[in-house]
Symmetry: D2
């Protein structure tokens, strides 16, 4: 096999970022778009070279050969789709959060293991140049041992309705901050042991979403297995723009990753306003190099036997941390990740 035949499952925004990169890739072809919503699937396909569309993976498989799928659907569908794909012998790229519960994560991992297919999770920040450079410096000992690791994500615009329906998602900490939970663990070099979360619902009421279902601000304290501490904060919607920044303080120095300011352009027109620099408009633009590089890694894992850089274990850890954090604010106490049970969901 020298080129991969890839199907994109889920005609949403995250799927589109991947599908565009697949369509442009030198070693992969986008051969199918899969979504129950035929209209959405066709609109999506029109933006990526108009591959055929199908309502289900089953029908796509019937139509022709497939090597791999990208799954970027609502979280509660991940388990079944990923298991189905793995059982069909397809390599699986699975967006975050991995699934709704640890049991679901285990089901996916087991199915991939049984099938002997590649299973890669969608934590693209690890591939973003400034993040990868920071990780390399930490591993080289440039800042000594990590002591405090902080990460924030703020996103403009409301998440989709299912993301604050607790029967289909574990809420903002899952949908927005999964990246932070993965990133801090990766940079700290140790699993998260205990979390404490505070949340509030500040803008939901104006949108008719009650506090029971919804929170739009969170701060989470972290304690890692190697004694590092940390914080995560998340806000969505943060109308000012998309913002994702990380800071790692070590025993010998500090790394500050990311900047709310984007393009290297300064404009000054009015001295009472000040100097203006464009910011990042959204995650597809902010992490564009990361998305390309994680696809390259997935292709290399399949075609070249390269190691899978982001594994089921990584996806599972982020799910455990989110579930612990949600239980923390519900029970108003710190929660250890090993308290989370296999079938536990936040609802």
């Amino acid at each position: 096999m020298s080129r991969l035949c890839v199907a994109s499952i889920g005609a949403g925004r995250a799927g589109l970022v991947h599908a565009r990169n697949i369509a442009r890739h030198a070693r992969a072809d986008l051969v199918a778009v899969i979504d129950q919503n035929a209209e959405a699937a066709q609109r999506f396909a029109a933006e990526v070279g108009a591959p055929p569309t199908y309502p289900s993976l089953e029908e796509a498989l019937a139509a022709g050969p497939l090597d791999a799928v990208f799954i970027a659907t609502p979280t509660h569908t991940h388990r079944d789709l990923a298991v189905e794909a793995a059982e069909a012998g397809l390599h699986v790229f699975l967006e975050k959060p991995m699934a709704i519960s640890l049991q679901e994560c285990d089901d996916v991992e087991a199915a991939a293991a049984r099938a002997g297919v590649v299973l890669q999770l969608g934590f693209m920040r690890r591939f973003q140049p400034e993040f990868a450079e920071a990780k390399a410096r930490i591993e080289a000992g440039q800042i000594g041992e990590p002591m405090i690791v902080k990460s924030l994500t703020r996103g403009p615009g409301l998440p989709p309705a299912w993301a604050h329906d607790l029967s289909r998602s574990n809420g903002m900490l899952a949908e927005v901050n999964s990246h932070d939970f993965d990133c801090v663990r990766w940079l700290a070099g140790a699993p998260i042991e205990r979390v404490y979360a505070e949340v509030t619902n500040r803008k939901g009421a104006a949108r008719g979403v009650t506090a029971d279902q919804f929170y739009d601000n969170a701060v989470v304290s972290l304690r890692f297995a190697n004694e590092a501490l940390g914080t995560i904060d998340g806000t969505c919607p943060a109308d000012y723009g998309y913002d994702g920044r990380v800071e790692v303080l070590g025993t010998e120095g500090v790394l500050i990753i990311g900047d709310v300011r984007g393009t290297a352009l300064i404009e000054v027109r009015d001295r009472t306003v000040g100097a203006i620099t464009p910011i990042h408009h959204g995650w597809p633009q902010r992490f564009a190099p990361g998305y390309v590089a994680e696809l390259d890694a997935f292709v290399a894992a399949i075609l070249d036997g390269a190691p899978v850089p982001v594994t089921a274990e990584d996806g599972r850890h982020a799910v455990a941390a989110v579930l612990a954090a949600n239980r923390s604010w519900q029970e108003e106490r710190p929660v250890r990740l090993d308290e989370v049970t296999a079938g536990e969901v936040t609802a």
Copy 2:
């Protein structure tokens, strides 16, 4: 009275910053340096125009007229010195932390009230131009309602020995992070209601300080009375330099205050190293304008009857937050500030 006669009590680093500013002030004269340690007092005096030195406030008062004192001694001495000064009719500028317990804070406040003297607390960040500008913008509604307020302080060098002796201090959160506790409340526009803290001792062992007495890293989650959330983190020693930064996310925008980079100078010599910008070397330099402006405000409160900008209530709130945070890591649970009792100390 057109010029103030001021005594500086405490021949340490913080006292020196104030004493230098007093000696240069157009409406104040530094007329006495007071410290039990005669040698330290003389060394200190030599740097600020050589005013006479005394072992106690009593002896200084006997030697000539005084209008005001700056108290920058170890925390456990604050209550007695401040009460003595107030009872002698002197205006009191009191460094942070205000005292060891809430009872001591109340004693100081009551003494000042009885004597009718000005009592101002040493939270100079409020006077620092970028902090003051941020506060003005928040009050003008530029970023809407505060949702998340974050503050960090990291300092090079060990704190003095008494600062991690829990019979004389409430530890790093008191000695280093009092500024953060004050600043977040001031910027959030509401008192802190509940805190949760995680701490570690990462460098103490190498210095022979055991974990029982000591922690050198802390992250604290905050919940404010107006539903804002927040975090504080502190590290001391952070050998890379002095760093103090704050971020306020509101419903309509964000303010990022401070930069680890200092002087507006970039040097590039080696492309494998990168572009280098000097950083702040310590708090006296980092907050130099703030120290000058808080002195101006103190002088104006005394000579012109201007309102006292930082009050006993401000000092007391920071002490309460520190005590709650310390109890939080000791009891491994979130602690409300109203749980802190009058005589409570961390020890």
Copy 3:
């Protein structure tokens, strides 16, 4: 025609940047690498998917169909190669500087016009996001009318030997600063009318290059037809790294484009050193998005009939400005661009 068959002529660094992008392009295939030096051609081809190599365009044409060529050879070969390609009916992408003399520029332009092929010049900065955004803002009137336009380019490493052999190149101002001459005119919105240049040879002696042939520092004053003024400065080698920055001051504001600092990463380890940010290592990395976008534009001009964004006139103007600047430092006086004669070269 739905995909372009493209040959890369010139097995050097600039050619490689283009060839890599062609090999990855969705609408183009790299089908030939052409260089007289067979070994260099093969080394080059090995890095871009191993297309066949040829010693000449003639032999490549004999081997199979070609639609377009990228010419990235030493400047003195541009005219003949571009004319040969155009006469063979091939679309031509021609690296800067366009040619050695205005007569050569005219020859190339005439050949392309006769053949009816696309001729695009390699000024990739126009396609770099921050430059394109600045141009859009200027055209939208955000900073009023341009008054002063400044541009600098500094490059690490020596240019190739032919670049300071005045029988084969017009020197550093041509080889390094052509980009600046094009960019300032494009941003000023008017041709350069008059230039004055000062040059020095500071590092050549250590490399056995005499001042007669060589200068490695230049500052150039500019006067544009619309009364804007400007400066260009160039240095090569500037061992500290690659640096290209532009500033446009208008009647209503200012735009500062580019930053010596690259990746959004800050590291602090030592307070006596300061905060360190990686810089750009070279032009292929610094202008990577610009190189991709100029290729997209070339493909679109051929396949979709889109307008050619950088024309022979643009290339010719930069050559005229370089020749005038070289005459200026030789004659120690300001030189108007209309003084430059058709056959004039600097030698």
Copy 4:
């Protein structure tokens, strides 16, 4: 003498900056404000503690003892005032530009030498921390030998009417860019040998100022005696704010001094606008530490016999460079500084 009695001559903006610093100085008293315009003198005095005002130096001397004067009057009055002060035995701090012609500069220097008084010129940028740090690094060899030195100054607001009356001033290059001419020479470590200037009048017409009298934009090429090259650009009014930045490229590295962005505060409210940072509003704020430090140096030169840090020779060199630059744009050719004659003025 332990405290200096100082008079401020010239009730304008620059005088006020000095007078405020003198009034606050520990070793100096502001004892007189001198201006022909009694009303202006009184308004000025009211802002600095209300010292007595006088219409002339003569009357001030008659009223009481004086040790030193600060002269911040229109340039054409500098020579007579400085000579008068020196002949009265007063130490002289003289604002830039030193005088209208080299002859006048020589007259001032000779008078000070005869009287044995301190004569210090007002180039405060040398005392600004980031400039002083850059100079120290250059002298320590951090960036090797200077190759290119660039400086710009842009000011909001029109200069006073006399500043573009060529019988009273040598125009914008003198009034605004004297600082740049001094600064580049100081940082390059060698005198300017030759200049070439281009100027335009872009906003004068709208204000009824004809091109004969006026230019509001200039770019100047520089060649130094040690083979370094440079550029200066000036614009006044530049309505966007006050901006002064310098860059020094050496054989081993580069230093970038200053930033259009001021206070370390970032605000983002609207993703279509971007991140906003306050800028410097004017030179009194931008160079506040420099003004304080140059006063300290003047006081130390008088009271402690410290070396005078900015001398008549420095002032004279900047005047020569300005006169050469003005002749350059008038004669449309590069002009050597040694072509400037003793009595030459631009008019």
